[in-house]
């Protein structure tokens, strides 16, 4: 037998598998992971402090940059929080457009998760397939908000403009192709033997740990807890749609991967129903020019983003700018279990675990 010393290996911060500025320091005992120390903050922009110097309207584009892979979700969460604080009603048509944009964002985000997990585990074709499909959603975002990635199309009170011509057929085409896309990801990767070897039983997160650590989103549902804020506390008009919350019981990396692929399908179903049910009418409610919530008013509102529970806590002092704004970022809290699920595994498992926890650093570092 060889004696092994405890040594550390850095994963990131500059490494393709870290999805943009995550630094995980693996404490290794030979080939076995003793512990993982996560160093955050490489993309810290102090977005909470910035909020204190911006009006409620001015802050909208900053929220798009929290989760830049699912940009409509954090914007929708923020706008809804402000609307809740001020009691602003938004028109039906805007609600439907928001749901369509939010679910398209969720699909795009999960496609990135599929793509990134693919490339991280050496399956470059997986990356190409998912990115190709995602590009069609980016085209929709460019159509509505004028830009692919960071469109602040959702605004306080509704959306910035009505949907353009060609929007509905284009979205319909995407939705109709979703089952085919899912089959392709599954045929290419899910059943693959090497894929299974890298994913099955790797990074197991038990249900009780998931809850205790505050893990939410697909990561929680892959541990057997059917908890989705769109069902548990339906916001917007989510109570009108028929969809299921996919879950798995094994809590391993494969389960997290499978839950995300199934969620793509469910989002497709929601979009289809929203397209069918969308009424004509206004796209923006009555919003005062100067937004000034009453002094001392505060609100905590959360939505189911593609990464989990995305919450905003806003305190007002009666002025035009938030007195305090806090973002409850799912990626930040989900990453907390990285050491827990990696301990006892082998080095390569860290890469799998980061990929299947699917953090977005813009949000975790804020």
């Amino acid at each position: 037998m060889f004696d092994t010393d405890i040594y550390s290996v850095n994963v990131g911060p500059v490494h393709p598998s870290t999805h943009g500025g995550l630094h995980a320091e693996a404490i290794m005992n030979g080939e076995i992971i003793e512990d993982v120390i996560v160093h955050l903050g490489y993309v810290h922009r102090s977005v909470e402090k910035i909020a204190e110097g911006k009006t409620y309207q001015q802050y909208v584009p900053y929220t798009a940059r929290l989760d830049y892979l699912a940009t409509n979700l954090p914007v929708m969460g923020y706008c809804q929080t402000v609307e809740k604080l001020l009691g602003i009603e938004i028109p039906e048509r805007a609600e439907y457009i928001r749901v369509i944009m939010a679910e398209l964002s969720r699909i795009a985000s999960h496609q990135i998760a599929v793509a990134a997990t693919g490339i991280d585990l050496g399956a470059t074709t997986g990356l190409m397939y998912a990115m190709r499909d995602r590009e069609r959603i980016m085209d929709i975002f460019a159509m509505t908000g004028g830009q692919r990635l960071l469109s602040s199309y959702i605004r306080i009170g509704g959306v910035a403009a009505d949907i353009p011509e060609g929007f509905i057929p284009a979205v319909n085409d995407i939705v109709n192709d979703i089952p085919k896309m899912m089959d392709e990801y599954n045929d290419l990767l899910t059943g693959n033997e090497i894929w299974g070897a890298r994913m099955k039983g790797v990074g197991v997160l038990k249900a009780e740990d998931a809850i205790a650590y505050g893990v939410t989103g697909p990561n929680l549902r892959a541990s057997g807890i059917s908890y989705d804020l769109r069902k548990a506390e339906p916001y917007s008009i989510y109570d009108r749609f028929d969809f299921v919350v996919p879950t798995r019981n094994s809590g391993d990396s494969l389960a997290r991967w499978q839950v995300r692929i199934e969620e793509i399908g469910e989002s497709g179903r929601i979009i289809k129903q929203a397209l069918d049910g969308m009424p004509e009418g206004e796209i923006k409610g009555k919003v005062p020019k100067n937004l000034k919530p009453e002094a001392g008013a505060e609100v905590y509102h959360h939505i189911e983003s593609s990464k989990g529970e995305l919450g905003y806590y806003i305190v007002s002092d009666g002025g035009a700018k938030p007195y305090r704004l806090h973002v409850r970022a799912p990626s930040f809290i989900n990453l907390m279990v990285l050491p827990l699920i990696s301990r006892g595994g082998v080095f390569q498992d860290i890469i799998t675990n980061i990929a299947t926890l699917d953090p977005i650093l813009g949000e975790s570092d804020r």
Binding site: L40, G41, H44, K49, K84, D209, R324, I333
Partner: protein, 148 residues
């Protein structure tokens, strides 16, 4: 449990904690304002007896002379929510850590320490989480001067 049960729960706790606890509800949350010496005790009770198994959100607000710690608790699968708050003086910014009840408090408390400068008693690894270790000051405090 339903939202009405949350109100019953709040009044039960009020009779137990007396002057150390005040209830304040708005249209979104039932808020328990607890004295900081009773915080850990109350949180343990909410977790063990009332089933609030998820510490969803933990943050702080700077009110000048005092800081306010804000906790949003949820119960899965009961699907109920409650907000707990405690005030701590600026000249002694310390609160009890909740890490033994909910491990979710770990990084969230480190974040509050990092950005607001509140220390958590009983936290095993209270170091900065977002800013560099040699950073001077706590940016979310109202007296922090922004540059640039």
């Amino acid at each position: 449990m339903t939202e009405t049960d949350v109100k019953v729960l709040a009044s039960e706790l009020k009779s137990q904690y007396g002057d150390n606890l005040n209830i304040n509800a708005d249209r979104f949350f039932t808020k328990l304002l607890v004295d900081k010496v009773k915080l850990l005790d109350l949180m343990q009770l909410l977790h063990d007896k009332y089933g609030f198994n998820q510490l969803s959100n933990l943050t702080s607000v700077d009110y000048g002379e005092e800081f306010e710690m804000v906790y949003h608790l949820y119960s899965i699968p009961e699907n109920i929510k409650i907000c707990v708050k405690t005030r701590i003086p600026r000249n002694m910014p310390e609160a009890d850590s909740l890490i033994t009840i909910w491990p979710a408090a770990d990084w969230q408390e480190r974040e509050v320490y990092d950005l607001m400068g509140i220390r958590f008693n009983g936290h095993p690894n209270l170091i900065r989480v977002l800013l560099p270790d040699d950073f001077d000051g706590h940016p979310l405090r109202k007296d922090f001067v922004r540059k640039g």
